[in-house]
Symmetry: C2
Subunit: 373 residues, 2 copies
């Protein structure tokens, strides 16, 4: 198939450091190319891919301090794509909302993967306004706040099988916290759990500007505790050793996590996961097989020794079965094909009457269109 | 004419407090309706207008703490507008970049007024990517960083003649600073100038979140000086008395101000303006008639007494001649008509080859499209 992947421009594809969405777009793109598909990646110019790259900004926006306004780059990207839409069988968007008004008349050749949390009140009106755009959720939990939106499928993320080699004899003797220092991710819980069991804890995480006060005031004082080590942000190569040598990943989140890529990164290494019952966690962890799902710190302290004793070979096998990039690519191909089949049927006539003559007459009388939003 | 005005959704039209763009959209819309045109205003639902209102968000986004993501509302607005574009002779955009990719094929019935500073490096690629979209600048100075963009005209803002009554016998015995507390607006200069001459200074200004540290650390200590009074943010009714009773407006800015609405608000009251030579200031102030344009604090201190002695009746007359809302509406109508005339000519065939077969072959060879951005 002729497939366009439309990535965020904030990070390169793949990202140099943190960046879940761009990482997944990269894995999907490479898997589709490997299967012989004709893939074009719309992304920042410093992206690295075996697909055809259409650079829509010179480099990743987040890493370029000269860029003050990111919207122009997205507008330029949408324009390039729209003018060349006829070259593709399917347009796969990973950029939230920008494409909705401009591609609704091509909805039958679009797929939009939702990468973020969907419990913001601003999103329900969006999906209601564009009901024909097919959506993919990245967990079933992610759908809950917008259950009546036009979902084609839930497709879990996947990793290349050779990205993170399993380690069946971890030597670290520590547990890990990996990701972002933020209230949502709750590193404080990780510290409390490891401390209670006398287990060394390594924390590898970035600190966003918006979380600096939280880090300084609430987390930094906890980093002095015995056995706690903070090592900052790490790259993919470092991640392999960091996760592989760990006894378990602690994922003590306190927000509606839409997926949680780090959980499957741990599983790829054979490292079991202790996760809190929030968002996608119960779907990603196979309870008692790849980890345990808990509700409280007390329960976490009680069950972590059991998590550490889980069979790392079984964790890796489960990862391979459920969370590989080829499996993800195949599931997306199914969705692409069903979208294309739908496209061969004539489009339904669109409701174009919202501001038609009758409604306008009514608005004149009332002064205001209150149908909106 | 059948005219659509497309306003930002951040503030209502007109705004309750601060908000230059929405204020101008309101003045323009009302002046066009008064002239008998059929005007539809796309804006937040708490806007107040004699035009037909199409509400694209329930209320002004900035004042609604429940709104976390403003982009969905703009996407819904663009969609409503696009599906009803055939009902209008001209679509007048005040929302920066969002409309560019989606309305370029209708460029011959669009006008985009640029309301912000244009010296950001992200804007030149934008206007180059959409060269057929007709633009209106709000001062000639605003155009400088993007001089080769597709400008139809410079149109200065205007106010309804009865909005601010002139006061030819001001009783305040003070000078004023009105607007925002920020490094760009330089309230510290206003304080230094007034202090040097022993003149009372009243400051009416909002403090944005981003400027709170600047206010606390650099401005707040200066507010204790004799004769300096800070009164916070004021509304339109308060503004009338505040400006009318002032001996002069101090506008000691240090940034490329695209227009500076407060200068003409002062002139409407008959109050002369001392402005610093930046951005639009030399175009808006008629030197020695409605104020003086200076380059340094010393020059400002030397010339402020002369500014205060200017003939307030002449200031008001000049305001009426140059900065009325009906004059602004007439200039926009000229632009609308020239756009419509152009629309009757067949559109040039668009350059659709950027990603055509030849370029694609080249990209395959090189791996990357480096033409972009």
């Amino acid at each position: 198939m002729r497939i366009a992947q439309i990535a965020p421009l904030m990070e390169s594809v793949p990202p140099r450091l943190y960046g879940g969405t761009e990482r997944v777009v990269s894995h999907l793109t490479e898997a589709l190319v490997q299967q012989g598909h004709d893939v074009t990646l719309f992304a920042s110019g410093d992206s690295v891919t075996s697909a055809r790259l259409v650079a829509c900004a010179k480099e990743a926006i987040r890493l370029n301090p000269a860029i003050r306004d990111y919207i122009p780059y997205y507008m330029i990207m949408l324009d390039k794509l729209r003018r060349n839409a006829h070259l593709f069988d399917v347009l796969h968007f990973h950029i939230d909302a920008f494409q909705m008004p401009m591609f609704r008349d091509l909805s039958n050749k679009t797929v939009t993967t939702l990468h973020g949390r969907q419990d913001l009140p601003d999103l329900l009106p969006l999906y209601r306004a564009f009901p024909e755009m097919p959506l993919v959720s990245i967990s079933n939990a992610q759908r809950e706040p917008i259950a009546d939106a036009n979902f084609a499928k839930t497709i879990y993320h996947g990793l290349p099988l050779d990205l993170l080699a399993p380690n069946y004899e971890p030597r670290g003797g520590y547990v890990v916290f990996l990701g972002r220092i933020s209230r949502e991710k709750r590193p404080d819980r990780a510290i409390a759990i490891a401390n209670a069991l006398g287990l060394p804890l390594k924390i590898a995480a970035k600190v966003d500007k918006v979380d600096e006060a939280y880090f300084r005031e609430e987390i930094s004082p906890l980093l002095n505790r015995p056995g706690v080590q903070y090592i900052g942000e790490i790259n993919d190569r470092e991640k392999r050793k960091f996760l592989g040598d760990a006894l378990a990943l602690l994922f003590p989140i306190d927000w509606p996590e839409p997926f949680g890529l780090v959980m499957i990164e741990a599983m790829a290494c054979g490292t079991p996961v202790l996760g809190f019952r929030c968002g996608s966690v119960p779907e990603i962890i196979d309870d008692r097989l790849t980890g345990r799902v808990v509700a409280t710190i007390d329960e976490a302290i009680r069950l972590l020794p059991e998590v550490i004793r889980l069979d790392r070979r079984a964790v890796r096998r489960r990862f391979e079965a459920r969370f590989s990039a080829p499996r993800m690519a195949n599931e997306y191909l199914d969705v692409y094909r069903s979208v294309c089949r739908a496209a061969r049927r004539p489009l339904l006539v669109q409701d174009d009457t919202m501001l038609g003559p009758n409604v306008i007459a009514l608005q004149r009388k009332n002064g205001v269109d209150r149908h909106a939003t």
